[in-house]
Symmetry: C2
Subunit: 234 residues, 2 copies
């Protein structure tokens, strides 16, 4: 049964973590808003569609089920497509790691929007400078070190020893961080050797490589989560 | 097999969502740091204990498994203790709602720490005033309206029609919001009729009532996630 993914057009955003899994799986899916526009999400967000009402995009419709929350969508999809072992221990470990990635993504968003998502960046720039500075000094190295350590514990090549959806998300995370904070990421390059090798490995997966070369892969931009504002970098 | 919960002493924090589930289930658990001190978490956080390394507390040890991330811990515990139906659709819906609660909890934390968790509140007070104002005006009503609508959709008494762990978390959320933002919550009281009735219903559950009356239930305080700084309220 075809998956229907709902997410804002024009940005990669949180939807991209789901797209990478669907693409790598070769799953039959439609990126609904890219066909019908963002208004296609409104009946769901307003509680006027069938299925569980999502609080926010992305959400996935699969048959009668509507599932929101990026990490939950991935946990739902992955065992159906060999993107995680069906063993309970692997699924919990993967989900825990994905939720930690989700926490980091939220922190990245808040580097440019520390006061309110409803305000322009320019109207919260001073707070953004302070938050981004703390993020680059404290949080970013802590998360990256954790990623390196988890990769080492998994044998060095993949987080869980064999490829899973979490590796796809880690690729996206590294790509986004490199886009948003190129100087900070260069400073931390010796601490991210395994993460960089993993990201390169993921980018070479045939379906991921084909996706990245396709027009379906949007470029990062300053409407998304990973934004490049030079003043927020080292 | 006894559960071992690891979380900071001295605060309710994110650990409290897990405690409420364990208490309501009458589960056999030990709140490890309250016995051994916060240092008991260090081997796990440093990757020197067996099991998946957690990025941050809370985490739960159950046999050889170590599981972090509040929402994942709850999704793991709940079907084992009748705190959610074992039907797949109910578990996904509950998890999605719990992850939305987790997002709100992070936003509440950031009202008093919008710049960095490593700085004192007093050193980010100006940004906190701005963030808390936007939170109270935009985000809090949006989340509460969503909660009311989800309750209405579930029949009015429980989010999923019958009691689940998500209702326990919603009780905790309402208690924390009332503590942190009493004036804003009073302003919104007519929009939270179902949520308030649910919170009262949860507080009367025999094991929850016994827990709340016990010394195990710490008071909210200004080291936790829900902090009462009058200047951050209406």
């Amino acid at each position: 049964m075809r998956y229907r993914l709902y997410y804002w057009t024009g940005i990669q955003g949180r939807g991209e973590f789901v797209r990478l899994a669907l693409e790598d799986a070769g799953a039959d899916y439609v990126d609904v808003c890219r066909v019908q526009g963002d208004a296609a999400m409104q009946p769901f967000l307003a509680g006027k569609a069938s299925g569980t009402r999502p609080f926010a995009p992305p959400f996935l419709k699969h048959g009668r089920r509507v599932l929101a929350q990026t990490a939950a969508i991935l946990a739902y999809l992955a065992p159906r497509h060999g993107l995680v072992s069906t063993a309970e221990s692997a699924r919990w470990k993967a989900h825990q790691l994905q939720l930690t990635i989700a926490d980091l993504v939220t922190e990245v968003h808040d580097t440019h929007h520390p006061i309110a998502a409803s305000l322009y960046y320019e109207d919260q720039r001073e707070a953004a400078l302070a938050r981004a500075s703390a993020f680059r000094r404290e949080r970013l190295p802590k998360y990256l070190d954790y990623g390196e350590q988890m990769l080492a514990a998994g044998g060095g090549r993949y987080l869980l020893g064999r490829p899973t959806y979490v590796d796809l998300s880690l690729f996206q995370l590294m790509a986004g961080l490199d886009y948003a904070f190129p100087r900070a990421m260069r400073r931390l390059r010796r601490r991210t050797v395994r993460l960089r090798a993993l990201a390169a490995r993921v980018a070479e997966r045939p379906r991921i490589a084909a996706y990245l070369a396709s027009p379906r892969r949007l470029a990062f931009n300053e409407n998304g989560i990973f934004r490049h504002y030079p003043e927020l970098d080292d």
